[in-house]
Symmetry: C3
Subunit: 139 residues, 3 copies
């Protein structure tokens, strides 16, 4: 049993943009000398989240719309009043989506469904340089 | 320290139906020769999710209602326009609920509360054969 | 590779109150003789959840407001009709937020962003004595 830390760097546009990171996550399992275990993908920062979705333009657009509808950009947010950076909506969306996702892998392959991709959602209101930590434990 | 992969098969009705899988998950910890660790339950596919709830008919019905109210079946979804399978609502609900849940176990017992059950929510708009991966790591 | 179980005890006020548990979680990694791995924070019970947020009064207040707006305390809940304890809203909020969060640590330090804290949200409608399980796996 061993633990390996890898990471992914990503320049994002913010503003609810959704990025498919599946191939990079799958790639991280190569050449580690382990076959079975779990991978935790975690994004440091309080304005982004990680989940899975079928990464096709329709579903991706629908997910953005849900966040916009349920936690609108233009509502009153106390965070904005105090900090003036205008990204109060980003903080509540990220707290809902959560920064962490753990996925099992078997025989060096993530156990995702065929139409299921791992995505980063960047809720911030400006472009960001994101780093996603991949912590891999297995044997 | 060792890692074990188990799985649960489940025929679902889809349509927001919620299934209590606690006893099968607890059962998976038997006879592994390990006492303490974590179990990750993960559902492959982009129209189902895993969480915990008090599995009594009232709370179960309330949770279905919340998903229906916040991400209604009959709204416009871009996914439907492109794919014609009518399950756009299923995709956004699943992305919100997320496909993964990690639960610690101590002395071979999941650390759930007395009234807390692990559930699969099947958001799809038709019956499905689901497989839930249980990846268990411990010693 | 080794596994360690720790816990945090917390007297809460319930009613959506949000508690920053970051320093206690970070503290739990001390003196274990391991450097790298993952920590799963899990709250037993079906009326609380764990996530991350920038723990400043504005964002904390905004997150409470979102839960109140999307899953209002005073709606009709079947759970209330059956159990009479009036905390139907707590159950659906907790099922949405989820009881579990897994965070990688590297060189004995949680990989959180500078402005990202781990929080317990107590959705119940009364004060509670909470115990949060921290299951730590690493080497």
């Amino acid at each position: 049993m061993a633990v390996f830390a890898k990471d992914i760097s990503l320049k994002t546009k913010g503003n609810n943009e959704i990025y498919d990171i599946t191939s990079q996550v799958q790639e991280s399992l190569k050449d580690l000398g382990i076959k079975d275990g779990i991978l935790t993908a975690f994004v440091p920062g309080s304005t982004a989240g990680i989940t899975t979705i079928e990464y096709e333009p329709g579903a991706v657009s629908d997910l953005k719309d849900v966040f916009e509808r349920l936690m609108p950009r233009d509502m009153h947010y106390e965070h904005n009043k105090r900090w003036g950076d205008g990204n109060g909506f980003s903080h509540v969306r990220a707290a809902f989506c959560k920064a962490s996702l753990t996925v099992p892998f078997i025989d060096r392959k993530l156990t995702l469904g065929t139409w299921q991709q791992i995505v980063l959602v960047d809720f911030d209101n400006r472009p960001r340089d994101r780093r996603i930590i991949l912590q891999i434990i297995g044997e």
